[in-house]
């Protein structure tokens, strides 16, 4: 690889100006002629109830009302808002037991805020006023908020095909004994000198993306169903809507609007099915549906909360002999991603350390909470909270330094990655740990913070993580990219990859510019139109740069090959004897023999005849590059965070003093974008560790579905933070890049918990670690 010209540079992001000036067009900003407005009527009285009567009559009479829809007025087909089931084969879907269990409106309310009816009116206000007139009566049903509640033998069954309310467990066929496992765990524990074991709770964190759900749908005069949405996955949502409304894909069009943050909240469908149901009821009229924040909170998925038990065994010399774990997550009212997270939570566990044997069981239980699904890290933050605290408890008993132990026992090149049978092909975790330790003076501080007695106590803790770039080989990984070379030798890259603010349209453009060897400004990225773009799975699993970038690179290489072939014909030279510089193709060693890309591109389009000779000038045909790209691997990103905290032992308050994040990113295509991902990830990781949780009362009423009472870390809460980018190019990534979209959130979770452990000598087993819990734990420790 020669010197990189665009890759590695902090070029201007493609979206920055429009976002800063307010020019970016979000779905809520889109206005269409004749627009109608929808309002969904939700049950806010109960979390579990049967609708015994539904009276729409008063609403119908309200001013401005066009239609009022109950459960029977819309499609009766059930669906699954998640798109996971589209990423595996039909056979695999059967093995996993993925089911469709959602309906547009329900007469069996399964969570606070479940949808029962809707109004379409000429204004948002008219729709809201009419919605208030809809009267429902309910028969209350028992509320199940945890796996233990839902498991009760006499508990009401959410779905007949899921006995025991067990929505998912690792299927026997693919996972003998329903476990992701290697070795003989029970035998291995017998060899352990030290065993640590505990039961944890991981919290229901919300993505808190800035843009609440906003949608428009229109069933147009071509009998096409159009949907304007800021989904992360336009192509899969197109297919899902086609399936739900029994339309061919050519009759469903997704218009992706600017995405105001995703983090998984827009992975798959959210309110697209409902919005389309409204539009189908009023053909020819666009219907807009805007969620208030409180509603977005309850209708888009959250992180999977649940009980997470873990046991680890070590030999005296530190050898990790066995790890046994079980995650019982509180799935929420519908199936959605029940299979995905229950598996990956264990996959990240399996991918981290060289235990002689390991067994992980993952189970998803239906509960009367709002749904869970994808959230940045996809099970990894949960595992980090538990696994990393257990490792540190082990280290404490072993008398081992947590960094040294991790350096010795983490998996590396050649070891099985998160998917057993797919070994890691790159790993720079040792360098991450060394550089982070040095940056924060780990060794000195570990000594200094021993035996503190004051009211305020400092602590320093570390955590590591492995993740993935795309979900190959578990899930389909595929992106199609077209490159159109214009006659002025600029190029448009056309693909369906979305940019949810993570910067992917910028980095994909950099990959294109670098591959074509064109200036960055000569490239435009066209996205957002499912009619025009080929297949793409969508933005998830830290894949967009890795897989999308792979597709862009391959399609641009196709363009380059065509350019060189034509230059070879024109210059009467072998293509291998040519090189390009400043968009001019030269013959090696003959500086006067050259042809510009501009000439080739122009002649391809404007293929005129020479009036004197009657011959065509140059090679005909507009050059287009194409790639249908399936990545060869999943280029694992690794990372380490060291956190320093100060705990106030009289109030339990935690102040995060400093965070150092060192990540093996392969190659930073755009260092600013990478740092942005790590900063934002850390903000969410600290929130998961310390403040973020969705609370329900015993009746299942959500108590904090808004920013008034759900507290994230704000700018002034953030500590001093250093990001170290370890660039160790991955052999399979575009220019060596690995995915960094999710990595940043993960290790701050465990590192913060471990820093608190280091400061006060007690581990807090429930996330988030609030002052209330710390104080209680300190009291228990003092009383013991």
């Amino acid at each position: 690889m020669g010197e990189l010209k665009v890759v590695g540079k902090k070029v201007e992001r493609v979206d920055v100006r429009s976002k800063v000036t307010g020019g970016a067009l979000y779905a809520a900003d889109v206005q269409l002629a004749g627009m109608l407005y929808g309002k969904i009527v939700r049950c806010y009285d109960h979390a579990h109830a049967r609708v015994t009567s539904l009276d729409l009559s008063e609403a119908v009479k309200c001013k401005g009302v066009i239609k009022v829809l109950g459960p029977k007025d819309v499609t009766q087909k059930e669906y699954n808002a998640s798109v996971l089931d589209m990423m595996v084969s039909a056979d695999m879907r059967g093995v996993l037991g993925d089911i469709d269990d959602q309906s547009i409106f329900t007469d069996h309310v399964k969570h606070y805020g479940d949808a029962i009816a809707a109004v379409i009116a000429t204004s948002e206000e008219a729709a809201e006023r009419a919605a208030e007139k809809i009267k429902a009566t309910y028969e209350e049903l028992p509320v199940y908020l945890t796996a233990d509640d839902a498991k009760q033998p006499d508990a009401l069954q959410f779905r007949p095909e899921k006995p025991g309310n067990l929505a998912f467990q690792l299927p026997e066929m693919a996972f003998p004994n329903n476990a992701y496992a290697w070795g003989e765990v029970d035998d291995s524990f017998a060899e352990a000198d030290i065993i640590v074991e505990d039961s944890f709770y991981v919290s229901k964190q919300k993505q808190c993306q800035m843009e609440p759900g906003s949608y428009i749908a229109l069933y147009d005069d071509q009998k096409r169903l159009n949907c304007w949405t800021s989904t992360q996955m336009p192509k899969l949502v197109q297919k899902k809507l086609a399936n739900l409304y029994e339309l061919p894909m050519t009759r469903v069009k997704i218009h992706t609007t600017v995405i105001g943050g995703g983090f998984g909240a827009r992975l798959g469908m959210v309110l697209e099915p409902e919005t389309c149901a409204l539009a189908m009821a009023v053909p020819g009229r666009p219907v807009k549906l805007l969620s208030p924040r409180e509603e977005d909170w309850l209708t888009s998925p959250s992180r999977h909360p649940g009980k997470y038990w873990m046991k680890m065994g070590f030999k005296k010399d530190g050898t990790p002999v066995a790890c046994d774990a079980k995650f019982e997550n509180y799935k929420g009212a519908y199936y959605v991603d029940a299979s995905g997270t229950a598996f990956t939570t264990g996959a990240w566990l399996g991918g981290m350390y060289k235990f002689d044997s390991l067994r992980y069981r993952g189970e998803s239980y239906y509960t009367n909470q709002s749904i869970c699904g994808a959230f940045r890290g996809y099970g990894n933050p949960q595992t980090n909270f538990v696994m990393e605290q257990m490792v540190d408890r082990g280290c404490a008993q072993l008398g081992a330094d947590p960094i040294e132990w991790r350096k010795k026992w983490h998996k590396t090149i050649g070891d099985d990655g998160w998917c057993i049978g797919v070994p890691y092909n790159s790993c720079a975790l040792d360098e991450c740990l060394d550089r982070a330790a040095e940056a924060i003076s780990w060794t000195e501080k570990r000594v200094k913070y021993k035996n503190q007695t004051g009211v305020k106590r400092r602590g320093i803790g570390v955590a590591v993580m492995n993740h993935t770039s795309g979900a190959m080989p578990m899930l389909l990984e595929h992106t199609v990219c077209d490159v159109l070379l214009h006659q002025d030798a600029t190029a448009t890259i056309n693909l369906a990859c979305s940019d949810m603010g993570q910067g992917s349209h910028t980095t994909l453009r950099q990959v294109a510019a670098e591959t074509l060897d064109f200036p960055y400004d000569d490239i435009h990225i066209a996205t957002g139109d499912t009619d025009a773009a080929g297949f793409d799975i969508g933005a998830h699993a830290s894949r967009t740069l890795y897989v999308g970038g792979g597709a862009v690179k391959q399609a641009c290489e196709d363009v380059r090959r065509q350019l060189f072939d034509r230059a070879a014909l024109e210059l009467e030279e072998d293509a291998s004897n040519l090189y390009m510089e400043d968009k001019i193709i030269h013959v090696k060693g003959a500086s006067n023999k050259s042809i510009s890309v501009q000439t080739i591109a122009d002649q391809g389009v404007n293929n005129f005849m020479n009036p004197e000779t009657g011959e065509l000038i140059g090679q005909p045909g507009q050059i287009q590059g194409y790639a249908s790209f399936f990545p060869p691997h999943n280029a694992p990103p690794f990372g380490a965070t060291i956190a320093e905290v100060e705990v106030d032992t009289e109030t339990g308050e935690v102040k995060v003093i400093e965070l150092v994040n060192a990540h093996d990113v392969g190659r930073a295509i755009h260092p600013g974008v990478v740092e942005g991902q790590l900063d934002g990830g850390a903000q969410q990781g600290l929130g998961m560790a310390l403040t973020e949780e969705t609370y329900f009362d015993e009746k299942g009423i959500c108590l904090n579905n808004s920013f008034t009472d759900y507290k994230m870390f704000g700018p002034s809460d953030m500590p001093k933070m250093t990001n170290i980018l370890v660039e160790n190019p991955d052999p399979t990534g575009p220019f060596g890049a690995k995915g960094v979209g999710e990595a940043g959130i993960v290790p701050p979770v465990g590192a913060t918990a471990n820093a608190i452990f280091n400061a006060i000598g007690v581990q807090i087993l429930e996330a988030p670690i609030t002052p209330e819990k710390i104080l209680k734990a300190l009291e228990e420790k003092n009383n013991a």
């Binding site: 948002e124 809201e128 805007l290 109030t651 609370y695 904090n704 104080l775």
Partner: protein, 292 residues
């Protein structure tokens, strides 16, 4: 339960105090006064009784923020939290008030929210309200029959309820001038920086050398209204503030408060930590370090 639509109401824009009072007299409990609107607009979405909003935007004379060494600090009905922060008098003579303004919400909110609106909201968590409670304050209210003054000690009746009558406009607030040796401080605890208090405390100590001759100690988030802690005040009055006294005070606080469990914290935690907070805020007032 959730709404994106502000309900209909008439926005009334009086141009004098007299006009405002006439409007309040006409609409009584169907009207609300709009100052900064940071509480009112949130509540209005779901409050179907209020049809008339009487805005103070065009009423002159309500933005006085004036310090006089005899009369103390006069705060007009339109004075914002940000105005307090800009005042060197507030910073010098009423540290508790200045500290409460400093941590209050966010810059946008501080530019809009008024001090008097905070008091009228009668929230048990109000930050500036709490500081003023400790410093002492007298409100001037006016209706068609004239003006009256109400001591803050008699103003908050229960959660969200005050001694203000429906037709009264709050004109201003007077905080007494500090005598020599007055020391005050405010401190709050929140889940994250930008949050409503889960526990807050303010003290105003009259010091004569090492001896405290009188004290007002107030706490928030420990009952339906902001409260004062008479036992603690008595323990301080006439005493030298020693570490032992502080410890005794810290142990006493729990017996004077009646907190509940809510989304921001638990009764148990508040009972445990309130004493620590009061101890620290006293030390802060005495300039003995700002934390422990």
């Amino acid at each position: 339960m959730t709404s994106r639509v502000m309900r209909d109401f008439d926005l009334l824009l009086p141009e004098s105090v007299a006009q405002a009072i006439t409007l309040l007299a006409t609409h009584k409990d169907k009207a609300a006064v709009l100052a900064g609107g940071t509480d009112l607009l949130v509540a209005l979405k779901f409050d179907y009784d209020i049809d008339n909003v009487v805005s103070l935007a065009l009423v002159p004379g309500l933005d006085v923020l004036e310090f006089d060494s005899e009369r103390g600090l006069a705060i007009g009905a339109k004075v914002t939290i940000a105005d307090l922060l800009k005042s060197s008098d507030v910073k010098e003579y009423y540290p508790a008030l200045w500290q409460s303004a400093k941590v209050f919400a966010t810059p946008q909110l501080r530019n809009t929210a008024t001090v008097i609106g905070n008091i009228l909201r009668a929230s048990p968590a109000g930050d500036c309200s709490l500081a003023i409670y400790a410093l002492g304050g007298i409100l001037t209210l006016e209706n068609a029959t004239g003006r009256r003054e109400v001591d803050l000690d008699d103003f908050w009746i229960s959660y969200g309820v005050t001694a203000r009558k429906d037709d009264e406009l709050t004109i201003s607030l007077q905080v007494p001038a500090p005598a020599t040796g007055q020391k005050s401080a405010f401190r709050r605890m929140t889940r994250v920086t930008e949050d409503l208090s889960k526990l807050n405390a303010a003290v105003c100590l009259q010091m004569d050398g090492d001896e405290c001759t009188g004290a007002r100690v107030a706490m928030g988030c420990v009952g339906p209204t902001l409260i004062r802690l008479p036992k603690v005040e008595n323990m301080l009055a006439g005493s030298v503030v020693t570490p032992e006294l502080l410890q005794e005070i810290s142990d006493t606080v729990a017996s004077e408060i009646n907190p509940i469990d809510d989304i921001r914290s638990s009764a148990e935690y508040r009972l445990k930590v309130a004493g620590v907070l009061v101890k620290r805020v006293i030390k802060l007032a005495l300039n003995e370090g700002n934390d422990q």
